[in-house]
Structures are given as C-alpha cells and as structure tokens.
C-alpha cells in the first residue's frame, strides 16, 4: 500500500498547486477591480481621511505582491478577512451558511442519482428499444431546463396553485421560533432527527423538497446519460458475452458483472455532476431565498464584498477538488487493475 500513499500525496500536492493558483487568481482579480475596497469598507458617505485610514488598516496601501503574501499568510492561519457587508469574519459566515448549501446539494444529488442511474442502466440494457429512446429523450430534456426557471415554475405550481409546499426558506418562521433546531452538523434534516425534534423535521423536509427538485432536474439528466453510455460500453465487452455463455442469469450480469465495471467511470461522472450542482445551487438558492452560501455570495458580489468573494471561491474550489480526490481514490480502490 505504500504506492497508494505515494499516489495520495502526489494528488494532494497537485491539489495544493491548484489551490494556490486559484487563490492567486481570485486575489489579483479582486485587487484590479474598478471600485475602491477601502471606500466600500468605510461606506458611501465617508470623508477622504476616513478612507485613507481604512486603507492603511486594511493594508491596501502596500504593494500588490506584499498584499498577496499577507493574504496567503492570513489564509493559512485561518484569518479569512471580514466581510465588508456583514462585518463578521468571513469564516464565521461561511460556517454558518455552508451546511445549508451542502444539505441542498446532497439532497439534489440523491434525488438525481435515484432517478438517473437506474434509468441509465435500464436504457443501456434495452438499447434502441422504446424505453431507451424515452429515457434518452428524458435525459436530454432535463438538462435543457434552466434551473432558475424550473425553480420558479415549481414555486408557482406547488406553492401557489396547489398550496402543498412552502414557497421559500429552510424552515417556517413559527417553527424556527418555537422549535428551533439545535445545531450539531448544520444539516437541518440530520440535526432535527439527532435531537429528537420531530416538529422541525417534517417542516425542514417540506422546505427542502422543491429546491432539491429544481437542483436535481439537471443532474438527473446528466446522470442518466452518463450512466447509460458507460453501461453500453461495458455491456459490449467480451467478458459479458462469456458470462452469458456460462449461463449466468441476465440480471446478475447487469447488476453485478456489468455494474461493477461501470461504477468506476460512473463515479467520475458523479463527481462532475456534483461539481456542477455546486454552481446550480447558486441559482436555486437565490430563487428560494435559501440561506446558503449561494445567496451569501450573490449579495457579496452585488456589494463588492471582496473578502467574501475570494474566500468563497477558494472554498468552492476546495470542495470540488476534495470531492474529486475522494472519487479518484475510490476508483483506485475499486479497480483492481489500477493497483499502483
């Protein structure tokens, strides 16, 4: 297993390089912007001296590369700056808002996989028959739907017309007041169960359904298409014919022999899909007023809140990179051919 360790270390180093690159990009982007951060910090009606003072405080008078080094030093030290808008440390805000986004993204991913993957398997095994064409059409149509639009449509239909589901937010205001969820992980669904809060749980569940569906619409189609093409490739392989020649039942072939081979590239797919949904989360959060990183970042962008923008970019990249790393490692673990 020594070589596995080496592989992990190599990947981590690559990740580090990428993260440094990202942080550099965001940093320099933010510093070359037209607006003056110092002025923003102090506020619209500040006087010149106040702006100067702020500039010194924020370290904005130093040369750019020194600023970058200070910035990196702070980054590593966990001092990610203070939001110009909320006046709180960015780290604090991120810790507050991240779980909401993750919960939504994961919920969407689960729905998407539960629908997309089995449909993809079925479509592949009944290739070119009606079910295959229907599934493929379904897949193509779902990836063509604008997520923010379907979010709005869902709101209209389920909330206004049917009155079944709440319009927005994570929790109804009275539940939030009367039965607040004690924070363990930040995931409302998990925490409410863990703390035995059975009033809040169904409420949180109802609130997450629509946004998760909106998010899942695109991922569903993507998962379906990729699972299908992977399965088709696998089902074409000679060892599948051999398995049939030995009398192995068709279902076993599909779900054990073929799937295990298809899982490996499927994981890559899931990684890509999840990475995408982290951006889709953005739009959906805005529509549903979901108190997550997406809405937070959006407001930050509109308010030219640089520390937030930079920090969130890095966090998002970090998440994607880590997830891909985990998926790659899982692949290595699952595929005996890649024993390094």
């Amino acid at each position: 297993m020594g070589s596995l360790k080496r592989y992990v270390v190599k990947r981590l180093l690559q990740t580090l390089v990428i993260l440094i690159g990202i942080s550099a990009i965001t940093f320099f982007l933010s510093r070359v912007a037209p607006s003056d951060p110092a002025a923003l910090w102090v506020g619209l009606h500040a006087r010149a001296e106040q702006i100067e003072k702020a500039r010194k405080e924020l370290g904005l008078d130093k040369p750019l590369h020194i600023q970058y080094l200070i910035y990196m030093r702070d980054l590593i030290g966990g001092r990610w700056g203070t939001s110009y808008r909320t006046r709180r440390p960015v780290i604090e805000d991120i810790i507050n808002y991240l779980p909401a986004s993750m919960e939504l993204a994961i919920a969407g991913q689960i729905i998407a996989s539960l629908v997309g993957i089995p449909l993809g398997v079925i479509a592949a095994s009944k290739k070119d028959k009606k079910i295959d064409h229907a599934s493929r059409l379904f897949g193509i149509l779902t990836v063509s739907i604008p997520s923010f639009w379907i979010a709005l449509m869902l709101q209209i239909f389920f909330s206004r017309t049917l009155g079944l589901l709440p319009l927005e937010g994570r929790l109804s205001s009275n539940v939030a007041r009367m039965n607040p969820i004690e924070r363990v992980t930040g995931f409302y669904l998990v925490d409410s169960l863990l703390t035995g809060n059975f009033v809040a749980f169904p409420d949180a569940l109802l609130h997450i359904i629509l946004p998760a569906l909106a998010l899942a619409s695109y991922s569903m189609g993507l998962s379906l298409r990729m699972t299908r093409s992977t399965m088709i490739e696998v089902l074409r392989e000679k060892y599948i014919v051999t398995a049939r020649a030995f009398g192995i039942p068709e279902n076993t072939i599909k779900f054990r022999y073929a799937l295990k081979n298809a899982i490996i590239p499927t994981l890559t797919v899931l990684g890509i899909v999840f990475g995408w949904s982290l951006t889709g989360v953005f739009l959906v959060e805005v529509v549903f007023n979901w108190p997550g990183l997406g809405t937070y970042t959006w407001r930050a962008i509109l308010a030219v809140d640089y520390p937030v923008i930079v920090a969130v970019s890095i966090i998002a990249a970090l998440i994607i990179v880590i997830i891909n790393l985990i998926l790659d490692l899982t692949q290595v673990y699952l595929d005996p051919r890649v024993r390094l």
């Binding site: 690559q14 390089v17 990428i18 690159g21 990202i22 990009i25 965001t26 982007l29 070359v32 912007a33 037209p34 070119d128 064409h133 493929r136 059409l137 193509i140 149509l141 990836v143 063509s144 739907i145 604008p146 997520s147 923010f148 639009w149 379907i150 709005l152 449509m153 709101q155 209209i156 206004r160 990475g275 982290l278 951006t279 889709g280 953005f282 739009l283 805005v286 529509v287 970042t297 959006w298 962008i301 509109l302 030219v304 923008i309 969130v312 970019s313 998002a316 990249a317 994607i320 990179v321 891909n324």
Partner: protein, 297 residues
C-alpha cells in the same frame, strides 16, 4: 470516431462520409424535430423586426401586467410591453450569446488542447495544470466575478462564460490528440519531413473535429442556459434589453400574480436549449460508427 481524413485522394471518401452523416441525421426523427425547431427559432430571431406584432422597447402603462389574451398571447410586462414580441427579439440575443460563447471557447481551448496533447512534456503539463485550475473553479462563480468586474452587460457576460468554458475543449482535444499521436500516419508525416506545426494543423486538428463539433453543438444549449443564468442574476444583459433570463428575473417579483411574465421566456430557453442538445446527440450518434442504427431486413 469517424475520422474525416484530410489528405490527397481522400476527397471522395470524405464527401461520402459527410453525406452519410447527413442522411443519418435526417433519418432520426428526434434530430429532425430539433432541426425544425432550431430553424423556427433562427427564423424568429432574424425576422423579428418584421413579424413581431409590437415594438420591443417603449412602454404602454395602461396595459401593465395584462394576462395572456388574443392581443397579447404571452401577456404584457411591467411596462405594458408585449412579451411575445420581446421573446422574439430575445431569440437574437440568446442565439448570439450561445454562438459567441462556444466559438470563443473552442477557438481558445481546441488549439491549446492539440498543442498540449501533441507536444507533451512541460508544455503539456503547464497547459493542463492551468486547465485543471480553471476546471476546479466553480464556473458560475468565476463567471459571475469576471462579469461583475468587467461591468455587467451582455457582452461581458459572454466573455466571462467563455473564460470558464475553454478548459473543457482543451481537455477533450488533448485526450483525442494524445491517442491520435500514436497513429501511423503521424509517423509517416514526420518521416516525410513535415514540421510539428504542420502535422498539428494539417493532420491532427482536422481529425479531432468530430468530438469537438459534437461537444460544441450540445454546448450551444448549455451556453444559452449559462448566459440566461447570469442575466437572471443581474450580471448579464441589462434592462431594457429583451433577454430571456432578464425577463425571468423581472417576472420573479410578480411570480404569484403575473405568472406569465417569467413563464414564457423560460419555455423558449428550454425549447432552444433542448433543440441544440437533441441536435448534438443526433450528431454524436451519426458520427460514431458503432452506434449506427441497424437497418431492418
């Protein structure tokens, strides 16, 4: 993938292949439908000034927020403008944006990928590291930031999205090039003294066309979605442009009372994106010999 070979004496083979592909495409009912839909959208976009029942700008406050009716099939917006007409004009913006984004991304990403795949070594490493960096970035966030820094506008959002998209083509092209590099005709070209640049452009580039075209066609749909998303967030097209995403954003505040405002532009985004995706899918089927449909006896 079929290889559209460039080289002397292969002209007839190429023509035959292209005709075969065209035939395959038109035979598939879904692809045919998508072509028709796209044709309709393009037609609408080009001839909007002539066929739209109302002007796209201006206002008519007496007809604010009218629900769909015979005079205004899609209703009116907050300034009393006819939404159908604005949707028609919006097709121009979306199509333009989609094409521009894809063209720019391909123009940057494709050659970079070929160079990376062909040259290998340090050049490949550097290019791929940069590509990975961009790919690790959540594209929407990056695009938002860039669009914001450049100043929100339709053109800037197109640039912003392209900047986040080119890496996909680089990856695609590089993988394709890497496998093409092994093939005999590359050896042969080198043996007759063709320079690296020559090989790359005369032989490798044309042979990587197929997957790029497929990806690009499907991406046209996604590009339109991305651009609409940026406009929805306020970082793309600005009022009073009749951009579909922008209209949805405007419709959002009155979603519960004037549902038509946000609904119809979205339907068009969906239809257009779906048509491009279907077309791309059909192209992919047509270009992949193994996936060709089996003709019955």
């Amino acid at each position: 993938m079929t290889t559209l070979f460039k080289g002397s004496g292969e002209k007839e083979a190429r023509f035959r292949e292209i005709r075969l592909i065209m035939y395959q495409i038109t035979r598939n009912p879904l692809t045919l439908t998508s072509l028709i839909i796209l044709g309709a959208v393009v037609f609408m976009a080009i001839f909007a000034p002539w066929i739209s029942p109302y002007p796209v700008y201006g206002y008519n406050l007496e007809e604010k927020y009218e629900p769909p009716s015979l005079e205004h099939p899609f209703g009116t917006d907050y300034l009393g403008r006819d939404i159908l007409s604005r949707v028609m004009f919006g097709a121009r913006l979306s199509l333009l944006a989609g094409v521009a984004i894809v063209v720019i991304s391909v123009a940057i990403g494709w050659p970079l990928g070929v160079i990376a795949g062909y040259r290998g070594g340090i050049i490949e490493d550097v290019i791929m590291r940069i590509t990975d960096m961009f790919l690790a970035f959540p594209s929407l966030v990056l695009a938002l930031v860039i669009a914001f820094l450049l100043g929100p506008s339709l053109i800037n959002s197109m640039i912003a999205i392209s900047v986040t998209w080119w890496p996909w083509y680089t990856r695609l092209a590089r993988a394709d090039t890497a496998s093409l590099k092994q093939r005999a005709f590359v050896e042969a070209s080198r043996a007759v003294g063709l320079s690296d640049l020559g090989i790359m452009f005369r032989h490798i580039l044309p042979n990587t066309v197929a997957p790029i075209i497929v990806q690009a066609t499907m991406d046209l749909g996604t590009a339109i979605l991305a651009e609409a998303g940026l406009s929805f967030l306020g970082l793309g097209a600005q009022a009073p442009e009749p951009e579909w995403g922008l209209m949805i954003s405007g419709g959002r505040s009155v979603i519960l009372s004037a549902w038509w405002y946000a609904t119809f532009p979205g339907i068009f985004i969906f239809i257009t994106a779906a048509a491009f995706n279907l077309l791309g899918d059909g192209l992919r089927e047509a270009l992949d010999p193994r996936l060709r449909r089996i003709r019955g006896a």
